[in-house]
């Protein structure tokens, strides 16, 4: 939705507000705890959120998207059945219950994180200062309608390599269970005037982190 018109004002809020409804913290914790079962990766979960019906994506707030995608994912990986979700069948104990995360290890798991850097056999093609052009379609080239992290507003644009971040897991592959396929990731600078019909000033830039496969020499 980057660049979209019509969304109105941004509404700043006091910095001590953490949640905006009683059920928000529970939705957050539930999603994280389920993720710790190790049955999907972060890219798959993002794919599930973006794969909601466009009308649902538009009307759901942040944690509503999380909940809907969590339910879809639980069924997709077989942790839960549709009958159980619908309340039409009694909850069967899961064979994966031994992976359940207890209160004593949660903090450790959160602190451990999940790095996305990997060794990769893919050689870096670009260096800082190089001019590059992004793919002309913000689409997954392998899976029709699949997950990608090239925003539509930056498709088919020319930018400048600013930094090499090392090799990172490729969401376009990992989100579909097709392997991590790590490749070099770059910070790429785009002049605002190359992205927008009416840039605010000629000085401004937008920086994106983009995988090597999204880029060609320009």
């Amino acid at each position: 939705m980057g660049g979209r018109f019509g969304d109105g004002r941004v509404k700043p809020e006091p910095e001590d507000v953490k949640f905006h409804a009683d059920w928000h913290p529970r939705a957050l914790a539930l999603t994280l705890a389920c993720g710790m079962l190790g049955q999907w990766n972060l890219d798959m979960m993002r794919r599930a959120r973006e794969g909601l019906a466009p009308t649902d994506y538009a009307r759901f707030a942040y944690y509503e998207k999380w909940l809907a995608a969590l339910a879809d994912m639980l069924v997709e990986v077989g942790l839960v059945t549709c009958a159980e979700l619908a309340g039409e069948a009694a909850a069967e104990p899961s064979p994966l219950s031994e992976r359940r995360v207890g209160p004593e290890v949660v903090t450790t798991i959160l602190a451990r994180g999940g790095p996305a850097t990997r060794d990769s056999a893919v050689t870096a093609r670009f260096q800082p200062g190089d001019s590059v052009r992004t793919r002309h379609l913000a689409e997954n080239t392998t899976v029709p309608g699949g997950h990608t992290r090239l925003p539509a507003y930056a498709a088919g644009r020319t930018g400048r390599i600013v930094r090499q971040h090392g090799s990172h897991v490729l969401p376009d592959s990992n989100a579909h269970g097709n392997g991590e396929a790590p490749e070099p990731l770059y910070a790429v600078a785009f002049a605002a005037r190359d992205l927008w019909a009416h840039p605010e000033t000629p000085l401004d830039e937008v920086m994106l982190d983009l995988w090597q496969g999204y880029l060609s020499p320009a």
Partner: protein
């Protein structure tokens, strides 16, 4: 509820989100997949332990210690790990410095990626359609809605968090803070200033 919609089983749950959470938690607890006590710990962690005070600590130290600042800007990860600020959604950090020449701002147009170990969970506006849509196209209008006006000649650099790298803005140190301790400086630093949507106020 379309029971035959296999692509979107979430439609099988009650539409009200509070009921959805309750239904899911009950179901998953019965199946032995989650432990409600673990959920309590996660909530406590992000409600009370991990929040913008972490980022403010880093900023205050960078303002106080030029060597630290140089190391932080050059390669943030080992520096932050040393301070204990590592974890989920902060595995690969870059710290970008605001100066008279450049004002940095952070957004995630694709979802709402955010440096959790340093700033906690993102504020409501950061996750809003309005911020995600507009921060990249008209950052100065967005800044104005936060009461921020940049001097002429300052360039805006908006970082769209499209991968697993997370960005922390190192805001400008306000005037009148020359003699302040790191602890006092930390208390000055606002969350919004570390996203690039605010200036740190003079004391």
């Amino acid at each position: 509820m379309p029971h035959d919609d296999h692509d979107h089983p979430h439609t099988l749950l009650p539409p009200d989100p509070a009921l959805r959470v309750k239904a899911l938690e009950t179901l998953l607890t019965r199946k032995g997949l989650i432990d409600p006590a673990a959920l309590d710990v996660i909530i406590d962690t992000y409600s009370n332990r991990i929040g913008p005070q972490n980022g403010a600590h880093v900023v205050a130290r960078a303002w106080s210690d030029p060597g630290f600042k140089a190391a932080l800007l050059a390669d943030a990860d080992p520096v932050l790990a040393d301070m204990g600020y590592y974890g989920r959604q902060g595995e690969h950090m870059m710290v970008v410095e605001n100066t008279d020449q450049v004002h940095n701002m952070v957004v995630c147009t694709l979802c709402s990626c955010y440096p959790w170990p340093l700033l906690g969970i993102p504020p409501g506006w950061y996750k809003s359609d309005a911020y995600r849509a507009r921060a990249v196209r008209e950052p100065r209008k967005v800044l104005a809605e936060f009461g921020v006006t940049l001097p002429d000649g300052t360039a805006v650099r908006v970082w769209d968090s499209t991968a697993e790298v997370r960005y922390l803005v190192l805001p400008q140190r306000p005037a009148g803070t020359e003699g302040m301790t790191e602890t006092d400086l930390q208390a000055l630093v606002t969350r919004d200033s570390m996203i690039g949507c605010g200036m740190v106020p003079a004391p």
